[in-house]
Point group: C2
Chain length 369, copies 2
């Protein structure tokens, strides 16, 4: 079924490759010559090695400049009462992003990342603005618990929209992509996708979103379970036809982010994933192109239980764990300085030889401070 992808998308998927092993080894060797005990920068060293392997050279170019793409869309499943927020908040928040008043706007500005907002499927009118990319596929999805969320053609168009956003940014010399999202009720669709790709029980991957009560949580679990049951044929074929699961249960922003991640990986540019929505979308991308995770860095682990399940399946260790559960890309932009610092360390630190620093003389060839 992967063969049934439209040609542009199939080309992107085919371009996704694993890390370059020679650059990985060169980066590990260089880390060992820098003026610090071997391994003492922990996960930061791993990130620097990944960046080198992705770029195919050591040290890698700096992951700079950086842009977070906030994919916005609405969800038919909102009608089931899974969220206490009115649906029009999606469009209102798009306006807030464009005005610079949202959390992701403020944090992105602080870390030097630019923001683009991608309307891939908001239900109502949104304001225009230089930062807005109007790539709307439809006015929100249909209700995943009563039918398919979107058609296969719509899913393909939303995936391609994401690829094109990534490609366009890379063509503008953006060196690091970050995922963001906005869509009232999108944690419900995320839980359904994670349950489908992770073979997990809905109750284990459905969270309190941003703070629903027990009754609403029970309803949300029931809605996810109903969606999985209704679409059980698609779910059973998730590995062979991931787009089928996306059509059945996903959101247009999930499709857009999956395409964005594939586009970044195809162009060998790192992509920092935000929270549970990005995690769910990355599972779709991974099912299409298993090596896509070579380009992915998990910015953080959110408080949503499904996110840990998604990260485990993606094989990614999050850089930040601060009980964030906002979305928008906030967890990704917060991680950007860590990723850039990792690259700077490998590029800019002195070696023992350069600095005239003595090396350790311990019996095991390692050291203690």
């Amino acid at each position: 079924m992967r063969g049934s992808l439209p040609r542009d998308l199939a080309g992107t998927v085919a371009a996704v490759r694993p890390l370059d092993e020679a650059a990985v080894q060169a980066a590990r060797r260089r880390q060992g010559r820098l003026t610090k005990p071997a391994g003492s920068l922990g996960v930061l060293e791993d990130v620097s090695v990944q960046l080198a392997g992705l770029a195919g050279r050591c040290p890698a170019p700096l992951p700079h400049p950086a842009t977070v793409a906030v994919f916005a869309a609405d969800h038919g499943v909102h009608a089931q009462g899974v969220s206490p927020w009115p649906q029009e908040v999606t469009a209102q928040m798009v306006a807030n992003f464009l005005a610079g008043g949202a959390a992701v706007s403020v944090i992105a500005d602080h870390v030097g990342a630019s923001v683009v907002v991608v309307d891939v499927g908001v239900a109502g009118p949104v304001p225009t603005g230089a930062q807005l990319l109007s790539l709307r596929v439809r006015d929100g999805t249909a209700d995943l618990s009563t039918g398919e969320a979107m058609t296969r053609d719509e899913a393909h168009r939303a995936l391609l929209a994401g690829v094109r956003v990534a490609t366009g940014l890379v063509d503008q010399q953006v060196g690091c992509l970050l995922t963001g999202d906005m869509g009232i009720a999108n944690t419900t669709a995320s839980s359904a996708l994670i349950a489908a790709f992770g073979a997990a029980d809905p109750a284990a991957v459905t969270g309190r979103g941003t703070g629903i009560d027990e009754g609403t949580w029970n309803l949300k679990v029931d809605v996810v379970r109903a969606g999985l049951q209704r679409h059980r044929v698609a779910v059973a074929a998730a590995a062979e036809d991931p787009v089928g699961v996306l059509c059945a249960l996903g959101g247009l922003e999930h499709a857009g982010i999956a395409g964005f991640v594939l586009g970044a990986a195809a162009r060998r540019v790192p992509v920092i994933l935000d929270g549970v929505i990005a995690g769910a979308a990355a599972l779709v991308a991974q099912a299409l192109a298993p090596d896509v995770t070579a380009a992915c860095i998990a910015g953080h682990r959110s408080a949503e239980p499904g996110h840990a399940v998604a990260l485990a399946r993606l094989g990614l260790r999050p850089l930040i764990e601060l009980d964030l559960r906002l979305g928008e890309g906030t967890g990704a932009v917060l991680a950007l300085p860590l990723v850039q610092a990792a690259a700077r360390v490998l590029r800019d630190m002195a070696t023992f030889a350069d600095a005239g620093v003595s090396e350790q003389g311990g019996p095991d060839g390692r050291a203690t401070g």
Copy 2:
């Protein structure tokens, strides 16, 4: 015994106060009006509230500009063979800091923090430089396992050196202080201090430093245990006379950092703590002035087991957990963008009223995305 502090130091200790409760409440209320579900920025919200309470106004001034002070000193206990690194690496790394080639130099540059190196007790000659503060109290400590590491007068002078570094930076309008350290064998002294203040067994708080083998680790635990046994009278009186424990077991950089933290707290400026050395030093500061933790933010949790014990006793939650075990201030500078982002969010985000965004209508008055 706290009354026996020299007058300058006693004045600093007396100036350390808890958070301003009115500003704390104002910050919590403001967080609730910003365009995001209440609490959805997790620990970042807590940091913003702490900064407001410390400054006594909401929103707090931005923690900017920032300076990391790397306190460098040598340790007599090095003679016991607790580290495979030669002692001269301390001075060599001071040169590396001044040349900008060390990890902390590179990461500080990336996050926009400046670096000062404080020679509070290196054993040999160090180069001069605009970034070097020469406040050496003595040429390294004595061996803690065979006698007192330093005299009470020396401990007071090193504590005051740290206070003066903090005060000098605040006088230059530095808005955020960060701790750094360099000193071969300083994890041994840190383990001893943490065991003393945390009433912990040496084996539970002594780590592999930056990678010693089993035999060296056993030796290191024995050395820490011997130090605690030799100085058991001082250890038993840790709560009443923390400087007595510092004299017995500490390093000159521990004393300097403890003074630096007290100086920051007295001037109501936040101080981001680095790893296990800072944690051990902060225990001394906390024993002298329990409210000092109001000014402290734990930049990270290192891989050293003693650090978790210290953080628990300090009541601090680390912002980053990436298996770092380098020291120098690297974990503190990596956390700086997170702390600054927390302050920016509280100051700069739009409120629901400002942005025309609808609030949630859930039965519990909270929300889900």
